[in-house]
Symmetry: C2
Subunit: 245 residues, 2 copies
């Protein structure tokens, strides 16, 4: 018996997110089906990040146990032949039998893309939120800087979060312009349910002038849940990378 | 009666190209249907560039005649409400009644994206050719420079071309690296059937070392059709822009 890690990239457009659920096609389900078919065993993956419906990934992580004699690093090639075109394994290799992708410390990096122009562009709009109002990037950067550090993010996550603690550390939050796209890249030790999309929704409010950047430290310091930010659409979000420490 | 120009962007993945044909959904057909529905007239667009199945556009051009009282520049907004998400009008405005998008002189710019890494990335792979072999960009740039200028491109187009002359002018041919993507941008006064995809196929042969850059001037000077280059896949190609002179 060995434990194998997969680095998984996908276009989330046609999936109901990562996690298995009745009557909907998910990434986890496809991986379980295709791995079971390939290895002739009943395979159940454990995922690192249960991305929402429509969210994309370049580097989500999953592990599974198998008795196969196929070497870990060959599984990616064989599995990619069975997978649909919108899910591609980037790498596979053996890990310690007790490695758990959600219980080990990691740095997760997400990217949120905003297509900031009058009309949407169909190809780019598949992985970007089309937002036509003008945005003040300096103000957005000022606000994003307040998020960096160890904070209680209870005002920046869904009220449906099941986490025991809403304290998280954000290591960096960069905002870059690439032609007509504004690209937000945020790294942290973990993110609450809908947190990246709500941080983005907040920064969009700052960018349009609806909210002042000075409001952010106030909301981070608040003892109670006093704010429910807009949740930016799933399509703009990509899980770029998970680095285990 | 007025003539209106549309700047049309589309994700070509789900279409059998621009031009109307039986038993297949095309961009031209969708535009005719939705314009006729919007304007309550029988509308037939004339397109500038009949892109192939799977080719994308940010700025293809079409014109049509209409008796509508809707101002030209408002048609884009109204039409976008009726169009599927993968076709978006970028601009609409009135032009001279005798303006013909294929008969007036123009500079066309195409982009070809190559995703040059071991495994494909699903989101980016929708608008890029995944090519895993290492490419020598310096050699590709040397070869591309030979294409710039006025040449007979009979050895770099499909034998099914219906053009009377195979002489075309290429104004520029740039090759840039963006992370793991190699982006070819070519501007010219016109392109023969499959020409951009065959120029790209040739440059890929140069990049892998299968062909020397010095072979290009020889093929451009050849009096006969002596060469049939590989045709790079449609998915990597985007018609960026058509500038009328």
């Amino acid at each position: 018996m060995k434990r194998v890690m997969l680095i998984v990239a996908y276009d989330g457009t046609n999936y109901h997110g990562w996690q298995m659920q009745p009557n909907a096609v998910t990434i986890e389900q496809i991986l379980n089906e295709k791995l079971s078919e390939l290895l002739k065993e009943d395979i159940q993956v454990i995922g690192a990040s249960r991305t929402d419906a429509g969210v994309h990934a370049e580097g989500n992580v999953a592990v599974f146990d198998t008795n196969t004699s196929i070497p870990g690093e060959k599984i990616s090639y064989a599995l990619n032949h069975l997978l649909p075109e919108d899910i591609v394994i980037q790498e596979s290799f053996e890990v310690e039998p007790d490695f758990h992708p959600r219980k080990c410390d990691s740095i997760k990096t997400y990217q949120y893309r905003i297509l900031n122009r009058n009309f949407n562009l169909p190809v780019k709009g598949r992985n970007a939120y089309h937002f036509y109002r003008k945005l003040d990037l300096d103000k957005m950067r000022e606000a994003a800087a307040y998020f960096v550090g160890k904070h209680d993010f209870k005002n920046f996550c869904s009220s449906h979060t099941q986490a025991k603690s809403t304290i998280r550390i954000i290591y960096s939050f960069d905002i870059e312009e690439e032609d007509e796209e504004i690209v937000l890249t945020v790294s942290g030790n973990g993110f609450l349910y809908n947190m990246v999309r709500m941080l983005t929704g907040t920064l969009l409010d700052v960018g349009t002038g609806r909210m002042s950047p000075d409001k952010i430290p106030e909301l981070l310091a608040a003892k109670e849940r006093v704010h429910s930010p807009n949740t930016a659409p799933a399509r703009g979000l990509t899980l770029l990378d998970i680095e285990y420490l």
